[in-house]
């Protein structure tokens, strides 16, 4: 497989050389977002692969998180488009994107601190009918599902604790479980290994792998190179708001442009 550089000409979505049998998941075309004079995301055309673990790496300030926020609707891009599995989702509301099957975590882990662990899980329960919205929030089957997920990430014994009292690592696990509660098809993780101990990094990596085996697509922003290289199927390297290289981990690792961006060689 060859490394392909994205040059960022707006219409680059036509028949790009995809690896065989990797349908598209999230795609952006010419996505841009500036804050004042800073081009945080600059004409980024990126395709993520469905069913794979995609990693997005890059030096600090390369626009990864802004890219993330544009894609999930938290901030509106200045120009460009975002589509998910062929449907345009540019400028859709965050909750609509979430309900479309994309779950996300936040860079500095965010939970609802004054709600219990179980309540944190139940927030993600989706009710569409007005009558259901106004009935009790603790249906047995929903509670069971929440508990099963808490068991899965290993914090089920904490379900009545207020989430703000959990350790940082436990909050990370809770955030992941909460994302899973909505049954997303694609999961975007912003620095899942940031600020947690090596044992927990291992556990999170294992969970990601298991979930991927069950069919979930992942899109992971991460600084921990060991984790990225061991975990991901497809790596996209960001620098100055746009992708500069992509491919399998082994190829990206030795790409001169990547070394330059990271090490300034």
């Amino acid at each position: 497989m060859t490394t392909r550089t994205t040059t960022g000409t707006g219409g680059g979505s036509t028949a790009a050389p995809e690896p065989a049998a990797a349908p598209r998941s999230l795609e952006t075309v010419g996505l841009s977002k500036s804050f004042g004079g800073v081009h945080a995301v600059d004409d980024a055309t990126v395709t993520f692969h469905h069913g794979k673990i995609n990693a997005l790496i890059g030096p600090n300030g390369s626009g990864k998180t802004t890219f993330f926020n544009c894609v999930t609707g938290m901030i509106a891009p200045d120009s460009g488009s975002v589509s998910y599995r062929g449907r345009d989702i540019t400028r859709k509301a965050p909750h609509a994107i979430a309900r479309g099957g994309i779950g996300r975590s936040f860079q500095l882990c965010r939970v609802f601190p004054r709600m219990t662990v179980l309540e944190n899980m139940l927030v993600a329960v989706r009710r569409d009918r007005l009558r259901e919205m106004f009935t009790g929030s603790r249906k047995p089957e929903e509670v069971d599902k929440a508990r099963a997920l808490l068991v899965r990430v290993g914090i089920d014994h904490l379900e009545h604790i207020e989430a703000g009292n959990l350790s940082y690592g436990q909050q990370k696990l809770l955030e992941l479980a909460g994302v899973l509660m909505a049954d997303p098809e694609t999961i975007m993780l912003d620095e899942p290994a940031g600020g947690v101990n090596p044992a927990l990094i291992g556990r999170i990596g294992t969970l990601v792998r298991e979930l991927n085996a069950e069919g979930k697509t992942f899109l992971v922003v991460e600084h921990n190179m060991d984790m990225v290289m061991s975990l991901s199927d497809h790596v996209i390297v960001f620098d100055r708001g746009r992708p500069i290289a992509e491919g399998p981990p082994s190829v990206v690792q030795s790409d001169p442009r990547v070394l330059e961006a990271y090490l300034g060689i």
Binding site: H95, H160, A182
Partner: protein
């Protein structure tokens, strides 16, 4: 896991974890499941308080005290109405007096100009407020935090100026006399009737607050209060939820205003669209505890009674405002969560200690280890994707030592 049905908890007051709801859908009431001692005490306390409240008109020594009671109840209504927005979503509106005034004036003008019967006018007044609240809410809820507070203040100032300036229609600063709904009643009787009318309105609000508090809608609102972005990312349509809460809150405030108009019989923009009134609502709710059903009511009983007392003792001086400011400072300093949580913590500190965490016996621990190992083995045998095996080994460890270790030690250090 056996832990799933364990409900020994001190943090979740409204545990409804029992499987009893399986046959009946939600809505079977707060006493679903066992009647525990705690619930009996709470039910008893509630009934006693309700009885005391409802017998107040008979106990009031003179009509003046009785009318003060009506004022306090009207405060309780507004504070509870405010709490639909402030308590659930954490959006602090200082401009809720605008809804109060709009409700009062709509009711009065509908009676005066369309000659509707008083209580039809009152209900329609609520509808008017609801309709006004929609565009106001859409605009105001575009911003958060301090900006929202400022927008809410500007709203009440705008309505004040409009109602003062448009004196041909509203009577302006000369006031507006509202025809009495029960002209045949003497003053004390009139107070007594309105005491119960306000109590009924309050009851409806409390019931609505309680229902929302335990609903999925309420869960979404509370998630907005905690972290709005996060709630959105989990699929909560926060904008619509906030708007719905704002409409409910504004409409109830308007209904309280309309009821006040019918009772008091004389409206003046400076009092109905007063920032002080909005500030009282916030103070009362904060004092009692915004996360609690009865928080605003308790706050209103304290602040309202104090206000009436100061007005009675010190007449026209502004001393009651000084006292209110002091009270606000004390609340913010010492009870940022309000009286109810502070009292609950106190009771808990001196009451029987319950561990909030499930203690595991050695046997349970062993069982847990075994289960985790079996699970991992099953998964490995199932032949998961590449890399799965190494991870599963990892997981076995977690299920046993790490998980149980956290159960035993992790919480003690943090609590």
């Amino acid at each position: 896991m056996p832990s799933a049905s364990d409900t020994r908890s001190s943090t979740a007051p409204d545990d409804t974890t029992g499987p009893g709801g399986a046959g009946r859908p939600a809505g079977a009431g707060p006493w679903r499941g066992r009647l525990t001692t705690g619930r009996l005490i709470r039910l008893g306390a509630f009934l006693v308080c309700a009885a005391l409240l409802l017998s107040f008109p008979s106990m009031a020594p003179n009509p003046y005290i009785l009318s003060a009671g009506v004022v306090v109840l009207s405060y309780a209504c507004t504070a509870t109405a405010w709490n639909f927005m402030g308590g659930f979503t954490g959006y602090v509106s200082l401009g809720h007096a605008a809804f109060f005034g709009l409700g009062a004036y709509s009711t009065a003008l509908l009676i005066r100009d369309l000659e509707l019967s008083p209580f039809v006018a009152w209900l329609l007044g609520g509808v008017v407020v609801l309709v006004v609240t929609i565009p106001v809410g859409v605009a105001a809820l575009r911003v958060r935090g301090a900006s929202f507070v400022i927008v809410s203040i500007s709203f009440v100032l705008i309505t004040l100026l409009v109602f003062q300036g448009w004196d041909a229609f509203t009577g302006g600063s000369n006031g507006l006399v509202v025809p009495r709904p029960f002209p045949e009643l003497l003053r004390p009787e009139h107070h007594r009737v309105f005491f119960y009318l306000f109590a009924a309105l309050l009851g409806v609000m409390l019931l609505a607050w309680w229902a929302i508090d335990r609903s999925q809608f309420g869960m979404g609102l509370k998630a907005v209060r905690e972290d709005e972005d996060k709630a959105q990312a989990l699929g909560v349509p926060t904008r619509n939820y906030k708007l719905a809460a704002y409409l409910i809150s504004g409409t109830f405030t308007g209904l309280a205003g309309g009821m006040y108009a019918l009772w008091f019989g004389d409206l003046d923009p400076i009092f109905q669209f007063s920032i002080m009134l909005g500030a009282y609502m916030v103070l009362m709710a904060l004092l009692g505890g915004v996360r609690h059903l009865f928080g605003p009511l308790l706050g209103a009983l304290i602040v309202g009674s104090a206000l009436e007392y100061f007005k009675m003792e010190f007449g026209d001086t502004q001393l009651h405002l000084v006292a209110t400011a002091l009270l606000l400072a004390l609340v913010v300093l010492f009870m940022p969560d309000g009286i109810i949580p502070a009292a609950r913590d106190l009771v808990r500190r001196f009451g029987p200690q319950q561990s909030s965490i499930r203690e595991m016996t050695a046997a349970e621990l062993l069982e847990r280890n075994r289960e985790a190992a079996a699970e991992a083995a099953a998964r490995t045998a199932g032949g998961t994707a590449a890399g799965g095996t190494a991870g599963d080994g990892d997981r076995t460890d977690d299920g046993g030592t790490d998980g149980a270790g956290a159960a035993g030690s992790g919480k003690e250090e943090e609590r």
